[in-house]
Structures are given as C-alpha cells and as structure tokens.
C-alpha cells in the first residue's frame, strides 16, 4: 500500500516535470461492452491522426490518454474526473453517447479544460448549457434527423411512424425529424436503451399504423438488430425505412458477411461521407483503409477531425497552453482542414455545415460502402443556438 502510494507520488512528480514540452489529450470513448466496436474505430482514427501529425502539434509532443466510459454515464464521468484531476490533461475529447457527455461536461468545464465532442451533440449543450470552452467536432443531435425530415418531404412521404431509443440522443433525433417533417406522425415508440434489441412489438404496431414510412435511430449493435428484424418482417415494400446513425461502416461489413442484401440502396443523412472530395478526406480514407482494412465510420471521421481541431488551437498559440483565449479563438475560426470540407462555428460552438443524403452501394473493390446522392442542407445551423448566451 505504502509502496504503491510512493510510486504514484514519484510518477506524478516525473510527469509534472515533463509536462512543459507536451500537450496532454484525454480521449473518452467506449472500449468495453458490445459498443466497444465504435470506441475501437475512434481509437484507430485518433491513432491515425497522430501518425499523420508525426505525434506532434506545433513544437509540442502529444501525450494521448484513452479512457473507457463503459457505455455508462456514471463511469464516463469518473473517467473524465480522473483525466482532469490525476492526468491534468489540457483537452478532454471523445464522447460517443449524449448521456455520457451530459454527465461528464461539468467535470471537464469546471476544471477549466477544453471539452471537444467527437460525436455526441445533445440539445442542452448547444443551448442553455453551452460553454465557451466546449466545441463540437460533429453535429447537434437534431440536425441529422432534420435533414432526413426534409428528404421525407421531398420524397412525398405523407405519414410517418417513429421508433427510437429512450435516452438523450433518441429524444433529440425524434425532435429533429418532427421539426422538419411536414406530414402526419402516426405514432412514436421509445424503447428501453440499450438493453432492448427485440423490436417485434414495435414493428407490428408500425405496420398496423398504415404509415407511409418508418423513421428509426439505432446506433451500434441495436441498429444491426433492427435492420434484420425489419427485413424478416418483410416490410420493405409496404413500410419504407428511413434511418439516421443506424447503418454505418461498422455494420456494413457484418451485413455483407451475412449477405444481407436488403441494406443495399438504403439511404440516410449525414454531414460526412468517405467519397467527399477534399484532400484531407482522401488521405484519411485511403490511409485508414490501408492501416485497418475497412472503411472508416463517421465516428472515426469525427474523432480524426477532433485531433486536427486541437492541433489548430495548439499551433495558433505556438504551444503556449496557458493562452486559453488564443486557443479558443483559433478553434472558433474552424480553420483546420476537416474531412467534411469547410464549415464554420455558431455562437454555441456547434458546426454550421452541410448535410448530405448517403446511399449504401457496392464499392469499386466489391466492399459495401456509401456514396453521396445529394446535398440536403447547406450551411445548416442547429435550432438551440438562440438559447445560448454566448456571442
């Protein structure tokens, strides 16, 4: 016991000596449970970003610490506390899940750290709980389904049934599609998250409702489960499916292995696609595939972006990490090369960006991937920005 404490004390003294010449980044993601597949993808992307940067941001070495949220808000908060208090990181990044971000934000922000979301974008963080030190490298939850709502209008869908998980992001997704969809909502089912994976009761209700379309949001393994049950129920023709964050580069190889051809041609909205034509994206996608043998997911793309966002801040102040104002201004300008192309930040530090309609296709090499069908929104801003007191 005493030895342990002694070692811990010694280790901290050493690290605090070395602290001057490096930038410390904590990255909170899911490394255990079934959702770890997403965390792994983000981890790969972050490591690739480090490789591309030569593990340096400006003249500083990067000291990267990954932490596991265990797919639970409470564990995520503890991981954040540890990064802030023990490791004394300069930036806390990551966060797949909205509820984990909501639980952890106070720990990072109260300690005066920068908090960079690489995925989650719950409404409160964009609105009344916005903070000058919070930046999103992804989107606000409602935006992607808002784009899907617009697609539904364009496709002439008159009535909709909605099924989504009952947690922060699920509620945001439902609010988003309801905000732009002009037709009638015939029913909404919120399911227990993350444990419910059998949707027989909900699918039967959706079918009986006679709606023109079915809108769902199921990230991770629940998405795969839903898609299969949708196919088994034979609803493809009578109840077309519209998804957000459900089909991704992580589930497509599994679908392909199981020869689940129904997913080919399915469409969803997103701010990014592997085929977007810019230098940063080409390099990211090509090197990611070379390194890890699969297409990167949007989770990976955002994690990769978050590292370059931080790099732009560190370089703008020439490595003077005490210059919070300088770093904040640099990030606010969004002047780094993003894989999604250029975007700007709103007053709430949420991206104002394009949203595209993506479609699942067989790629040139036979692997299942996606392509861009059209641009749904240009420079779209979330609807919570007006609640944020920041200028």
């Amino acid at each position: 016991m005493k030895k342990l404490i002694g070692a811990a004390l010694a280790a901290t003294m050493l690290t605090s000596l070395a602290h001057a010449a490096e930038v410390k980044i904590g990255f909170v993601t899911t490394l255990t449970t079934g959702a770890a597949v997403i965390g792994k993808d983000q981890q790969n992307a972050v490591n690739l970003a480090m490789k591309h940067m030569g593990n340096k941001m400006g003249n500083l070495d990067v000291n990267l610490i990954f932490a596991d949220d265990g797919f639970k808000p409470e564990t995520g908060k503890q991981a954040t506390d540890k990064l802030v208090k023990q490791d004394d990181v300069d930036f806390v990044a990551g966060y797949i899940w909205s509820n984990v971000l909501l639980a952890s934000r106070k720990s990072a922000l109260d300690a005066g750290k920068f908090l960079i979301s690489a995925n989650a974008g719950p409404g409160p963080v964009a609105g009344k709980l916005c903070n000058e030190n919070f930046f999103s490298a992804s989107w606000q939850n409602d935006q992607t389904p808002m784009a899907m709502g617009e697609v539904l209008n364009q496709n002439g869908v008159k009535s909709l049934y909605i099924i989504a998980p009952n947690y922060a992001a699920g509620k945001g997704m439902v609010a988003g599609v309801k905000a732009t969809f002009k037709g009638e909502i015939l029913g909404t089912d919120m399911t227990k998250w993350p444990s419910q994976l059998d949707f027989s009761a909900e699918l039967a209700k959706a079918k009986a409702s006679g709606a023109d379309g079915l809108f769902i949001f199921y990230p991770g393994k629940a998405g795969g489960a839903f898609m299969k049950q949708y196919q088994q129920a034979g609803l493809k023709d009578s109840l077309p499916l519209y998804t957000v964050f459900t089909v991704d580069a992580l589930s497509l190889p599994k679908f392909q292995a199981a020869n689940f051809t129904d997913v080919l041609g399915s469409q969803f909205t997103q701010q990014w696609d592997p085929t977007l034509d810019n230098e940063q994206n080409k390099r990211f996608v090509a090197d990611f595939r070379a390194e890890y043998g699969s297409y990167p997911s949007f989770y990976a793309a955002q994690a990769y972006d978050s590292m370059f966002l931080i790099k732009s801040a560190v370089e703008a102040v020439n490595g003077d990490l005490t210059d919070m104002d300088g770093m904040r201004a640099a990030m606010k300008s969004a002047s780094y090369p993003s894989v999604r192309g250029e975007y700007t930040y709103g007053n709430n530090h949420m991206p104002i960006q394009n949203f595209y309609l993506r479609e699942v296709v067989v790629g040139p090499d036979g692997n299942w991937t996606t392509k861009v069908v059209k641009t749904v929104f240009e420079a779209h801003q979330d609807s919570y920005a007006k609640d944020c007191p920041l200028k």
Binding site: T32, T33, G34, A35, A36, V37, G39, K40, N166, T188, D189, M190, T191, K192, S195, Q196, L197, D198, S200, A201, E202, A204, K205, K207, A208, K221, G224, A225, K228, Q229, Q231, Q232, A233, G234, L250, K254, F255, A257, A258, N259, F260
Partner: protein, 307 residues
C-alpha cells in the same frame, strides 16, 4: 380495437416467453436439483450464441451449426460445473451469487477477447427469411414461427423427460429431497454434471435461436438472466410446469406492455411523458408481478412438494 394487431402481439409475446422458457428451464433444473444459484447461466446463453454464430459461418448452414453447437455448449457447461460450480454446492447461496457473478465477468471478458467487441450477425437460410400470412393481415416472420415451434417442441420433450423417464424421476426426487436420492445409491456427482450440461445446452439453444434476430454479442447474457430468475421464482424453483407458465406469462406482459401501455398512458398524461414512462413501467411490471406473487405465495406459483 384492432384484433389482428392484438393477435400478432400475443404471438410475439408467446415467442418471447418460449425463448425465456428455454433459458429458465435449465436454470430451474440446476436450481431445483443442485440448489445452486447460477447467475452465470445467462453467460452460457451468450457463449452458445457465439459458438452457433461462428459455426454458421464455418459451415455455411445455420441449422447444421445449431446441431453441432449444442453438444459443444453442453461441454462448456460440463467444464464450468467441473471447475467452478461443483466446488460451490456445499456453500451457501450468498457464495453462489458472488462466485457466479465473478464467472459472468470472466466469461464476458473472455468472449470479448475471443470474438472481439463487434458481435456477429447470423444469416438465415432463404426459406426461413420470409414471412407467413396466417390470415388476412396477420403476417409473421417465418423464423419467429420456427422459434415458437422449437420452444414448444423442447417443452414437450422436457415434460416427457421429467415425467416419464428414470432420469426424470431422479430429477424430480432430487428437486424435493436431495439426501434421499444419494441414499438410493445414485452417483449424485454424475447426475449433477449431467443436469448442469443439459441446462447449459438449453440456454445455449436459446442464445443460438435469438442471434439471427438480434446478434451474438457480449453482455447479451446480463440482459436476460434477471428476467429468467423472475420466471423461475414466480413459477416456483425446480418446477418445470411453473417455469413454462411463468415464462409465457412474462413474455406476454413484456410484449403487450410495450405494445399498448404507451397508448394507455397518453389518455392520462401528455405524449412526451407517456413515451418516457411507458417503456420503464412496462419493464417494471414483471417485478411487480413477482413481488405480488411472492407476497401471496412465498414459494412461487408451483413449489415442488417437499423441500
């Protein structure tokens, strides 16, 4: 009232109930005869799902894979009995709970190390991947009918085993009086190992059957084990009949709750609050059922006669 929808939902509930019965039957056997609380029973369900999924890809045929995966899962159960469970029988329930809680952590993490975190989607043969129209408007996925048929078949087989075979007689005797069975000169060790392996096969079968619907994934066992315990407690520990009735009952409550509770709540509260409350309350209902049953009958609905 839409009676076609009600019929489809009842069928969904029965299907869920039968799946629960497969897991519960093994648990109640082990619990009844061995007096052993096995929280890790759900992890065997997961292991069975992964073995079945891997074999499906290796052999290219789902049904064949299930047939081969079953004895393998039985062997895994046998190994667990030999290495861990056997040494816990003469300790108290508290030690069972803790030891098997540890086993859950070990099995989950091992599955993560062996099969990775991403889970496996299991493809079905084309003839199982379609739908059957039972009558006008009542369209059911073929595969769910297969689960119902398998569940009923296994239930019938277990009833025969328990009621009309020598092994069944020993099982029944063991559930009500262990010392008597060993006094009869039966090799109780082998009987225990056999029952444990049989329970593992039943749980594994349930895991294999669910994986084409959801996926084989780590942590899937933790989600079903508590519900399964509710089933066997409500039914009465050691009672096959009780497990069957309680499983169907709980399957129906869960499914019908999910299907209709939200609409019911919207009559008395606003839609948003109803949508949040309904799934939680429908999940709570099975625990309310259990507490109510135990309050009235402290040994469940069908307790074995002598203990």
């Amino acid at each position: 009232m839409d009676y076609t929808l009600l019929f489809v939902q009842v069928l969904n509930g029965v299907q869920l109930g039968l799946l629960l019965f497969l897991v519960a039957s093994g648990l109640t056997l082990v619990f009844g005869i061995l007096d052993f609380v096995n929280l890790a029973h759900g992890s065997i369900y997961m292991v069975g799902a992964f073995i079945g999924a891997s074999l499906t890809f290796y052999l290219g045929n789902f049904l064949l894979a299930v047939l081969i995966a079953l004895p393998i899962t039985g062997l895994v159960g046998y190994a667990i009995e030999r290495l861990v469970a056997r040494n816990l029988y003469d300790k108290d329930h508290l030690d069972h709970v803790l030891g098997t809680f540890g086993l859950i952590l070990v099995l989950n993490t091992s599955a993560h190390l062996i099969w990775g975190p991403e889970g496996i989607a299991v493809p079905l043969p084309a003839w199982l991947d379609g739908q059957v129209e039972l009558f006008e408007g009542a369209v059911i996925p073929t595969y769910r009918l297969l689960i119902i048929a398998t569940g009923l078949g296994v239930a019938a087989g277990l009833f025969w085993l328990v009621n009309y075979t020598r092994l069944g007689m020993l099982i029944r005797a063991g559930a009500s009086n262990r010392t008597m069975v060993s006094a009869l000169g039966i090799d109780i060790q082998s009987l225990f190992a056999l029952v444990f392996a049989l329970g593992a096969m039943l749980a594994g079968l349930a895991g294999m059957l669910i994986s084409p619907i959801t996926e084989a994934s780590i942590g899937m066992g933790g989600q079903i084990i508590i519900t399964t315990f509710v089933v066997i407690i409500v039914g009465g520990i050691g009672s096959m009949k009780g497990a069957f009735i309680a499983a169907i009952l709980i399957g129906l409550i869960d499914t019908l709750g999910r299907a209709f509770l939200g609409d019911l709540f919207e009559l008395v509260m606003n839609a948003d609050a109803a949508q949040t409350a309904a799934p939680a309350v429908s999940a709570m209902m099975i625990y309310i059922l259990m507490a109510a049953v135990l309050a009235v009958r402290p040994q469940g609905l069908f307790p074995p006669k002598v203990r």
